[in-house]
C-alpha cells in the first residue's frame, strides 16, 4: 500500500494520510483521553484503522460518491471515519452533534444518506426517531457501546464489528484500498459541510480535496507549522474551522490532534495537553477571560494589586513586545517581571503556555479582549473566511496585527471590493458547488469566478481588510443615515454582562435593542451585591440589572458619536429579554449567530412596544428544553429609554 501512495502526487487526503503513515508512522497522530489516561494513535495505527473502516464499509455495499453522515463529538474514530469515506471516494458529511432530530432530517434527506456514523446512544436515538422519514437509510454505526445493549435493530452496528469485518476483508483483498485510493482525484469532493443558513434551508457546500489542501497548505506555510504541533480538537466537527484546523492542516503537516475526554473537561484537557497551536471562536476567549476576572475578584488583595499593576504594564507594552516593536528598557524589565509573576502563571492556568500561534474567527472579537491576550504574550491573530472558502481568505501576518482588521489576503487568494462594498474572493479554495443547488451556486459565484461573500468591507491604506457588516444587513434609518446592526451589536457584546444583543432600526426613525444578559457574569455581579434571584428570567427583570445594562449601552452611544456615518445609530430604547436566545428555538444558528428576521417576527409585540413608546409589555414564549419537551416562559418586560449624545454641531436629542 505505501508503494502505490508514494508513486502518486500527494493531492488527496487519503494519499496524504498514507504518506504520513510511511514517513512518520510511529509519531502520534491522535490522542484521546479515555478512563482518565491519554490514549495515543500513531499515524500507522490511524492508517490501519482507517483501512479497516474503509474495507468494512466497502463490504457493506458502500459505493463511490456516496455521502456518509458523521455525527458526534470530536473523537479520533470520527476523524478516521472521515478518512475512510474519503479513501473510498465518498463524501463525509459531518453534522452538528447538538442538533435536534428534526434539524438533522433535512440534511439526511437532502444528501440521500444511506450510511450514518454516530458517536453514541444519544445520536442513535435521534436517528431512530427519524427512521420512518428516512426510507433510504441503510446502516447506522456507533462508536460508544455504552447503553446500546438492548438495541436489536438489524441495521444498527457497533463500529468494532465493521472494523473486524474490514480487517478480514483486507486480508482477503489487500488490493482494494490501494486501488480505491488510486482512483481518487484532487477534484473530487472531499467533504460536504452544511451552512447553518441565517436564512432559508441549509445548503451543502461541496469542497474538493484540492480546495481544502490548498487552504490548509497555505495556512501551514504562512505560520510555519511543523509536524510537532499539538492541537486540541473540541469545536464541532461540522464547522469549517474545525475541519480546516483539526483535519486538513493535520493531514498536511502531520501534527497531533488531541480530543478531549468530554465537553465538560475541555478546560482541564487544554491544560494537560498545552497545545502549541490553538483555534477558538471569540466566545471561548471571552469565557476564559470572564473566568479569570471572576477568580481575580476573589483573590487576595496582594494578588489583585499585582495582577492589576502588571496588567497595566502589559497593556502599555505587551503587544508591542510581541510584535517586535521598540519598547523602552524599563518597560521591558517590568514586562519580564510581570511574565514571571503574573502572565506566565496565568497562561499556565489557561492552558496556553506553549501556544505559538492562536487564531480566532467566526465572529468579531472585542478589541479589549484581543489586546488582553496579545498583551500577556499570546500570539492571538484573526482570520477571515467562510465555509464556502474553506475558512481561508484573510490572515493576520505576525507583527502586523491591527485590532480592527482581519489581516491581509492569504497566499494564493485574490480579494477585491465590489462597488456596493461587498467583499469578493477568488482562489483555489473556493467551493465546487452547493449540493444539488446550481441556482444557489450561480447566485454566489459571479461571471468572473469571484465568490460573493455577502460581507461589506474595505481595505485600509496598508492593505488590511476591515469587515463592517453583512452586506444585506446594512440598512438605512428613516432619515437616510447608514445602519449597520452587527457593528452595533458587536460593540454591545464586548461588555462582559451582555451575552447577545439584537438591534433594530432599518427604515425606522430610531434604533432600539433587545439584550440578553450573561447569566454567569451578571449572576456573579448580583451575588456580590446581595441581589437574590431565582433564574435567568428573574435576574433579567431586576431593576439593578437594567441599570447596569443601561450604563453599558449609553457608553456604546457615546462611542458611536465618533463613528461618522453611524452616529445616528445610537440606541434610544432597550429591553432585556426574558429568555436566552437559543439555537433550539431557532433564534440562533448552530454557530450562535442571531437569526435577525426570525427574532423580529417572533418578538414582534416587543418591537411594536419599543417603537410605540410603551414602558412595559407582557409576552409569553414557547421554549424547547434540552430533552425535547416544550414549555412556556412568560414575563412582563420593562422597557427603558436611554440617553443619547449629540454630534458636534447638532442639538442633542
Amino acid at each position: 500500500m505505501p508503494e502505490t501512495a508514494s508513486s502518486q502526487a500527494l493531492d488527496t487526503f487519503p494519499r496524504l494520510l498514507l504518506n504520513h503513515a510511511r514517513v512518520r508512522g510511529d509519531k502520534p497522530a491522535m490522542r484521546e483521553k479515555d478512563l482518565g489516561i491519554w490514549q495515543c494513535w500513531t499515524w500507522q495505527n490511524v492508517a490501519e484503522e482507517v483501512c479497516a473502516l474503509a474495507c468494512g464499509l466497502s463490504e457493506m455495499g458502500f459505493k463511490r460518491g456516496e455521502n456518509v453522515a458523521i455525527v458526534g463529538d470530536n473523537r479520533p474514530r470520527m476523524y478516521m471515519m472521515m478518512s475512510a469515506v474519503q479513501c473510498l471516494g465518498g463524501v463525509p458529511l459531518p453534522l452538528y452533534q447538538d442538533a435536534v432530530a428534526n434539524e438533522m432530517l433535512f440534511v439526511l434527506v437532502d444528501a440521500e444518506v444511506r450510511f450514518l456514523f454516530v458517536e453514541d446512544q444519544e445520536q442513535v436515538d435521534k436517528v431512530l426517531e427519524l427512521q420512518e422519514q428516512l426510507p433510504q437509510l441503510g446502516h447506522v454505526f456507533y462508536d460508544d457501546p455504552h447503553g446500546m445493549r438492548h438495541y436489536t435493530q438489524p441495521f444498527i452496528h457497533d463500529v468494532r464489528e465493521l472494523m473486524e469485518m474490514g480487517r478480514t476483508h483486507n486480508r482477503n483483498h489487500p488490493d482494494l484500498l490501494p486501488r480505491e485510493v488510486a482512483a481518487g482525484s484532487a477534484d473530487d469532493v472531499s467533504v460536504m459541510l452544511y451552512t447553518s443558513g441565517t436564512t432559508g434551508k441549509p445548503k451543502g457546500v461541496c469542497l474538493t480535496h484540492k480546495a481544502f489542501i490548498s487552504a490548509a497548505r497555505g495556512g501551514t506555510e504562512f505560520d510555519h507549522l511543523t509536524a510537532d504541533e499539538d492541537i486540541l480538537s473540541y469545536l464541532p466537527m461540522a464547522w469549517v474551522g474545525d475541519h480546516l484546523f483539526s483535519f486538513a492542516q493535520a493531514m498536511i503537516s502531520g501534527f497531533t490532534i488531541n480530543c478531549p475526554e468530554s465537553a465538560e473537561t475541555v478546560m482541564n484537557d487544554l491544560r494537560e495537553i498545552g497545545p502549541t497551536y490553538y483555534f477558538a471562536p471569540p466566545r471561548v476567549f471571552e469565557n476564559l477571560l470572564t473566568q479569570v476576572m471572576i477568580r481575580m475578584e476573589d483573590a487576595s488583595a496582594i494578588k489583585q494589586k499585582m495582577f492589576h499593576y502588571f496588567m497595566t504594564v502589559a497593556r502599555r507594552s505587551g503587544a508591542e513586545i510581541l510584535d517586535g516593536k521598540p519598547v523602552s528598557f524599563a518597560d521591558r524589565v517590568l514586562y519580564g517581571l510581570g511574565s514571571f509573576f503574573v502572565f506566565g502563571p496565568l497562561k499556565n492556568v489557561l492552558g496556553l503556555s506553549r501556544v505559538r500561534v492562536a487564531y480566532t474567527a467566526g465572529a468579531a472579537i472585542g478589541p479589549d479582549l484581543f489586546r488582553f491576550y496579545r498583551s500577556i504574550g499570546i500570539n492571538l491573530k484573526q482570520l477571515y473566511g467562510q465555509t464556502e472558502t474553506c475558512a481561508y481568505v484573510c490572515l493576520q501576518p505576525d507583527g502586523e496585527i491591527k485590532f480592527d482588521s482581519v489581516g491581509k489576503p492569504a497566499p494564493g487568494v485574490e480579494v477585491k471590493i465590489a462597488d456596493n462594498g461587498e467583499i469578493l474572493v477568488k482562489g483555489p479554495m473556493l467551493l465546487k458547488e452547493y449540493y444539488k443547488r446550481p441556482d444557489a451556486t450561480a447566485e454566489v459565484i459571479n461571471a468572473d469566478g469571484y465568490f460573493m461573500t455577502g460581507d461589506a468591507g474595505m481595505f485600509d491604506d496598508e492593505g488590511h481588510l476591515k469587515i463592517i457588516d453583512r452586506a444585506k444587513d446594512v440598512g438605512k434609518l428613516a432619515n437616510g443615515a447608514m445602519f449597520a446592526p452587527n457593528f452595533i451589536e458587536n460593540k454591545l457584546k464586548f461588555f462582559p454582562f451582555v451575552k447577545e444583543a439584537v438591534v433594530f432600526g432599518d427604515r425606522r426613525e430610531m434604533v432600539c435593542a433587545f439584550i440578553n444578559i450573561d447569566i454567569g457574569a451578571v449572576g456573579n455581579w448580583a451575588e456580590r451585591r446581595g441581589i437574590a434571584y431565582s433564574g435567568y428570567t428573574d435576574l433579567a427583570a431586576k431593576e439593578e440589572v437594567y441599570g447596569l445594562i443601561q450604563e453599558s449601552i449609553e457608553q456604546v452611544n457615546s462611542e458611536l458619536v465618533g463613528e461618522g456615518p453611524l452616529a445616528d445609530s445610537q440606541i434610544h430604547r432597550f429591553l432585556i429579554l426574558h429568555k436566552e436566545l437559543d439555537p433550539d428555538d431557532d433564534e440562533l444558528t448552530r454557530t450562535r449567530k442571531v437569526r435577525r428576521g426570525f427574532v423580529a417576527e417572533k418578538y414582534g409585540v416587543l418591537i411594536d412596544a419599543l417603537y410605540a413608546g410603551k414602558d412595559r409589555q407582557f409576552i409569553e414564549t414557547a421554549v424547547k428544553f434540552e430533552d425535547g419537551r416544550q414549555g412556556k416562559v412568560a414575563a412582563d418586560l420593562v422597557i427603558r429609554d436611554l440617553r443619547t449624545f449629540g454630534v458636534a454641531g447638532r442639538a442633542a436629542s
Binding site: L35, E261, S262, E264, D627
Partner: protein
C-alpha cells in the same frame, strides 16, 4: 429487558427493632430477589431508613433474622454486610468533603485492598500494582456515571445533585451484588432525578445488581421498581408489584391519600 429476576437473595423474617420504648419496626418480613429493584416506601417515620440500617447491620434488631444467600444472621454487622457484597448510599450524603472525587471513590475499594499499611506507605511492588488496578476500576465508575469533569474536585465544592452521584459512585466502586439506596433522589430537581433514575436502571441492567431503595417520589418508585413494600408506623401494610400496591386500600389511606 435481558435481566432475569432470580431466586430470593435476601430474606427478612419477623424483624422487630425498638429504641427503648419506641418500636421502630414491628414484625416485618419481606424478601428481595436477585436482580430486582425493590422499593421501600412509607410516610415519614415509618421505619424505612431503620429497615436499611438493619439490613446492613448498623442497627441490631431485637427479634427476627436475616437470611442472606442461605446464611442465617441473627445480627448483621456492617463489616460482614460489606464483605457479603452489600453496599449503600446515605440519605445525608456520607462522603469526605475535603477529599476529591477519586479519593472518595477509592475509599469504596478499601475492603478489596490486600496489601498492608507499610507496603502502601512505600507504594511498592504489589501495593503499587494493586492500587493501579483499583484506580482503573474507579475510572470505570467515573466513566459510567459521567463525572469525568469533577474527578479532581473536592466533594464539598460540588452541587448537591453531583454529590449524590458521587455517593452512588462510592457505593458502586465496591462492586456490590446488593445496593441499598437511601432516598437517592431527595432534594433533586427534575433533571437530576431523571439522570439518577437512568443510572439506577443502568446499574441494575448492566451489572445485574440487586437494588433496594427508599424513595419518596411516588412517580419514580412506581416507574422503576419491580416490587414495593409499604411501611407505616413500623408495620408492613403492603407488599407487591407497583400496581397492586397502588390499589391496596390500606396503602391508599395511610400514604397515598384519597385522591390517588
Amino acid at each position: 429487558m435481558s435481566r432475569q429476576i432470580g431466586e430470593v437473595v435476601l430474606d427478612l423474617k419477623k424483624v422487630s427493632l425498638s429504641f427503648g420504648g419506641v418500636k421502630a419496626l414491628t414484625d416485618i418480613s419481606f424478601d428481595v430477589r436477585e436482580h430486582e429493584i425493590r422499593a421501600i416506601i412509607g410516610p415519614n417515620g415509618a421505619g424505612k431508613s431503620s429497615m436499611l440500617n438493619v439490613i446492613n447491620g448498623v442497627y441490631r434488631p431485637q427479634e427476627g433474622e436475616i437470611i442472606l444467600r442461605g446464611q442465617h444472621f441473627a445480627k448483621m454487622n456492617p463489616y460482614k454486610a460489606a464483605q457479603a457484597g452489600i453496599s449503600r448510599t446515605f440519605q445525608n450524603i456520607a462522603l469526605f468533603k475535603g477529599m476529591n472525587v477519586i479519593d472518595n471513590l477509592m475509599t469504596g475499594r478499601n475492603l478489596k485492598i490486600r496489601s498492608n499499611l507499610i507496603q502502601q506507605a512505600f507504594w511498592w511492588g504489589p501495593a503499587r500494582r494493586e492500587e493501579l488496578e483499583h484506580r482503573a476500576k474507579v475510572e470505570e465508575v467515573i466513566d459510567f456515571l459521567e463525572i469525568q469533569h469533577i474527578r479532581k474536585t473536592p466533594v464539598g465544592r460540588l452541587p448537591y445533585g453531583l454529590q449524590k452521584r458521587v455517593d452512588l459512585g462510592r457505593a458502586l466502586a465496591m462492586e456490590p451484588s446488593i445496593l441499598l439506596l437511601d432516598e437517592p433522589m431527595a432534594g433533586m430537581n427534575v433533571e437530576e432525578k431523571q439522570d439518577m433514575c437512568r443510572f439506577i436502571l443502568d446499574v441494575n441492567d448492566q451489572f445485574g445488581t440487586t437494588i433496594v431503595l427508599i424513595e419518596h417520589d411516588m412517580a419514580v418508585v412506581m416507574d422503576i421498581s419491580d416490587r414495593v413494600v409499604v411501611l407505616d408506623y413500623g408495620k408492613k401494610i403492603g407488599d407487591g408489584d407497583p400496581d397492586a400496591v397502588r390499589a391496596n386500600p390500606d396503602v391508599i389511606s395511610a400514604y397515598l391519600g384519597a385522591s390517588h
